[in-house]
C-alpha cells in the first residue's frame, strides 16, 4: 500500500515534471516563433545604407516566417560578445574573429558571400589621391588608419605585413587610430586625417560605385593576397531548424528576382557553402603576427576590459 502510494506519487511527480518540461518547451517554441531573429552586422557591410538593410530584413522576415532584425554594433568585439551571450543568432563577421580561438566555441560557419565569382577578397592599403605615397615604405612616420582591432583586412593584414619586415604599427607610424568602420577609414584618408589606411577591398570597390565623391579621393597603393570573404556565422546553440531555414533562404536569394535585386545592391553574387578551411590563411597570418608580437595578448586583454567598462 505504501509502495503503491509511493509509485503513484512518483508518477504524479514525474508527470508534473514532464508536463512542466513539455509546457516549458512549448512555451520556448512559441516564443522563438514570435521573437525576432537577431542578425548582427559589423563593419563588413556599409552601414550607411539603412534603407537597403530594411528591405533585406523584410525579405528575410517574409521567407523565414519570422521577423528578422539587423543589429549593428560599433566593433566586432561587441558583436562577438553578443553572439557569445546568446543575444544574436546570426552575424556577418570578419574572417579574423571567426578564426580566433574560443573556449568553448560558440560560432559555426553558416555561409560565405560570393564576390566577383569567388568567396574571396583582399586588404587594400589606400592613400589620398593627391599624396606622393607609392608604397607602404613611404608611409613610415605617417598617420595610419585601421578599421577595427579585430578586422582582418583593416588591421591584421597590415600588422602582419609590418611584422614580416620587423616593424610594428606603434613605432612604424607616427600615429594610428581605429575608425571601427571600413567606410570611415576611406573617409579618414579622403579627408587627409590619415595619410594611409587599410580597408576591405569589397567595401572600397562598393564605395567607388555608391559614394564616388569620397572613394575617388583615395587610391590603392598595395593589395594583399586573397583571403576568405567575411563569413556569415550562426550561434552554436541556435535552433538548428532555424539555422537550416536561414541557410536555405540566403542561398535562395540568387535565384529569386527580389533577392537578385538585393544582391546587386550589395554588389554580391550570392551566398555559398564553403569549408571553414577557407579561412586557414587568416588563421596562419594571425599566428605569425602573434609570434612576432608576444605582447599582443596582454594588450588585447586590456582592451577587453576597457570594452567591458564601456558596455556597462
Amino acid at each position: 500500500m505504501k509502495t503503491k502510494a509511493a509509485v503513484v506519487l512518483l508518477f504524479v511527480v514525474l508527470g508534473l515534471a514532464g508536463m512542466t518540461t513539455a509546457a516549458h518547451a512549448a512555451h520556448s517554441n512559441y516564443a522563438t516563433a514570435n521573437k525576432p531573429i537577431q542578425f548582427g552586422l559589423t563593419a563588413v557591410v556599409v552601414r550607411e545604407n539603412l534603407r537597403l538593410l530594411d528591405v533585406w530584413a523584410q525579405y528575410l522576415s517574409d521567407r523565414m516566417g519570422q521577423p528578422v532584425e539587423f543589429v549593428q554594433r560599433r566593433s566586432y568585439r561587441e558583436v562577438m560578445d553578443m553572439l557569445g551571450s546568446g543575444g544574436l543568432d546570426f552575424a556577418w563577421i570578419c574572417g579574423f574573429p571567426f578564426v580566433q580561438k574560443r573556449d568553448p566555441e560558440f560560432v559555426e560557419l553558416l555561409l560565405v558571400p560570393v564576390y566577383q565569382g569567388k568567396p574571396l577578397y583582399r586588404s587594400y592599403i589606400i592613400v589620398h589621391r593627391d599624396s606622393p605615397y607609392q608604397s607602404m615604405d613611404d608611409l613610415a612616420g605617417k598617420i595610419f588608419a585601421f578599421s577595427d582591432p579585430e578586422s582582418n583586412s583593416g588591421y591584421l593584414y597590415p600588422q602582419f605585413f609590418l611584422a614580416n619586415q620587423g616593424d610594428r604599427p606603434e613605432t612604424y607610424f607616427h600615429k594610428t587610430f581605429f575608425t571601427f568602420n571600413h567606410a570611415e577609414t576611406v573617409e579618414a584618408v579622403a579627408e587627409q586625417v590619415a595619410d594611409g589606411g587599410a580597408v576591405d577591398s569589397y567595401i572600397w570597390e562598393y564605395l567607388r560605385e555608391f559614394q564616388p565623391e569620397v572613394a575617388d579621393k583615395t587610391r590603392v597603393i598595395q593589395k594583399s593576397p586573397t583571403f576568405g570573404f567575411p563569413p556569415l556565422v550562426s550561434r552554436l546553440g541556435a535552433d538548428p531548424d532555424m539555422v537550416e531555414r536561414m541557410k536555405a533562404v540566403l542561398m535562395g536569394m540568387s535565384s529569386s528576382p527580389d533577392g537578385r535585386v538585393l544582391l546587386d545592391a550589395l554588389k554580391l553574387d550570392g551566398f555559398g557553402e564553403f569549408s571553414p578551411s577557407l579561412f586557414d590563411s587568416i588563421r596562419d597570418m594571425a599566428a605569425e603576427t602573434r609570434k612576432a608580437r608576444p605582447w599582443i595578448e596582454a594588450a588585447e586583454e586590456k582592451e577587453k576590459e576597457l570594452r567591458a567598462e564601456e558596455i556597462e
Partner: protein, 490 residues
Amino acid sequence: MTLFSPRSWGFSVKVAITITAMVSGVAFTIGAAIVTLDWWRFHNDLEEKALLLAHSVAVAAPEAILRSDYWLLFKSLKKMAAQGPGNIHRTRILTAMVIDPEGKVLAHLQPSENPLGMLLAHSDEEEARLMETSMAARSPIVLDGDIGSDWVLEGVVPVFSDQKLLGVVRVRLSHDELYLKTERSALIILGLTLALATIGSLSGVAISRRITKPLTTVTEGMEAMCRGEFTDIEPVQVIDDDELGRLVATFNQMTVEMAEKKLMEEQMAVSEKLAALGRITAGVAHEVNNPLAGLLNCIDTLKKHPDDKQLMERYLPLLDKGLNRIRNIVGSLLVELRVEDAREVSGLSCLEDLRDIVEAEIDGREIDLVWENHLDDRIKVNSRRVQQVILNLLKNAVQAVPDGGTVAFHSFQDANCVVLEVDDNGPGIPPGNRSQIFDPFFTTKPNGTGLGLWIVYRLVESMHGVIVVESEVGRGTQFRVTLPATEVVT
C-alpha cells in the same frame, strides 16, 4: 558765390538746414547708440555660440583623447561644424581643433595642413599669441584675434579628466555674421534717419515759409522805400496776431505815413521850386529892367537929337555899359553851359595862378593872405571850373574882411577826395541869410549881382562835389569844397 557764404543764405534755407541737422543729429546719435548696443549684444551672442560649440566637442573629448580615438575627435569636430547651432544663423566656423597639452594636434578641421600628432603650425605672431593664451586656459574662455584681415573670435574649452589637462578644444568663428547683422540694423537706422531728416527739412521749409513770406514782403517794401518808391507799396496781408502780425501791421501803417509824407514833400518841393523860379524871374526882370530903362531913355534922346554929336559921344559909352551888364547877367545865368565846354584838364598848379589875381584884388589893402596848397600836381582837375569856384570864394572873402583881416586858402587830399578851404575872419554871415546865400540874385552888397555863390554852387554840383559853409557872426566864415576822387583825374 553766395553758395559758400552762409550769412547770405535765405532764412528759409537756414531754418530748414537747422531743423534737418538737429533731427538727423538726434536720429543719428540714437541710431549710433542702438547700433553699438546691437554690436555688443551680437558680440556676446557670438561669444556664447563659440563656447557652446567648443563645449559640444569637449563633452565627448576626454574619453576619445584617453583612448587615442583621433577619428572620433575629428568626427565630433566635423559634426559640430556641419550641424552646430551656428549653421542656422550662418555663423562661419573658420576652424576648430583639439590640441594636446604639448601643443600637438589631436584633431583639426583642416587635417591636411595640420597633421595629427604634429605641433600646431602658427604662421604669425597673432596665431602664436592665441595658441599660448588658449593653452594657458584652465577654464572656458573666449579670445579675440586678428588673423590676417579677418577679425576672429575663439571659444576655448580645456578638457580635463580627473583634474588632469588632456587637451584644449578651440573653435574659431568669423566675425562676418556680426558685421552682417550690425550692418543690417545700421542700414535700417540710416533709413530712419534719412526719413526723419526729410520730414524735418520739409517741416523746416514749411515753418520758415510761414515766417519768411511776410518778412520777404516787408523787406521788398522797405527796399522799394529806399529806392524812393512810396506810393505803389501793396499793404502786406496780416495772417496772425503774433509778433509777425504786429510787425506787418506796423509796416503797413508806416508805408501809408511815408507815402503821405512823400506826397507833402513833393508838394513842398514844387512850391519851393516855384518860389525860386519866381525869385529868379524877379531878379532877372529887376537886373535887366534897371539898365533897360536908362538905355531906352538914351536911345529916345538920341532919336530926338540925331545930329548932336556931343550927345552921341556921351550916350554911346552908357549904352555900351548897360548892354554889357545885361550880357554879363545872362552869361552868368548860363554859366553851366559856358563852362561845360571847357573840358580843359590840368594839374592843380593852376590854382597858383589865382594867387596873383587875389593879390591884385587886395590892391594894397592891409589884408594877410595865407596860402597853403598841399596838393600833388599829378592830380588833374577840370581847371577852369575849380579856378572859377575858388576865385569867386576868395573874392568874396577879400571883400568881406576889414583892413587888417586874414584870408586863407588851404588845399589837401583826404582819402579819395580833394578838399579846398577858403577862410576869412570877416563879420560872418547872419543866421537869417545862411539859407539864402546860394540863391541867385541874393546879395548884401550894394552893387553885387547875387550870382557869385550861385555860380559856385552850380559848378560844385556839376562836379558832384559838396560845398559846406561854417560861419559865426564876428568870428569869420569858412567855405569847404570837397570834390570826389572820381572827378579828380589822376
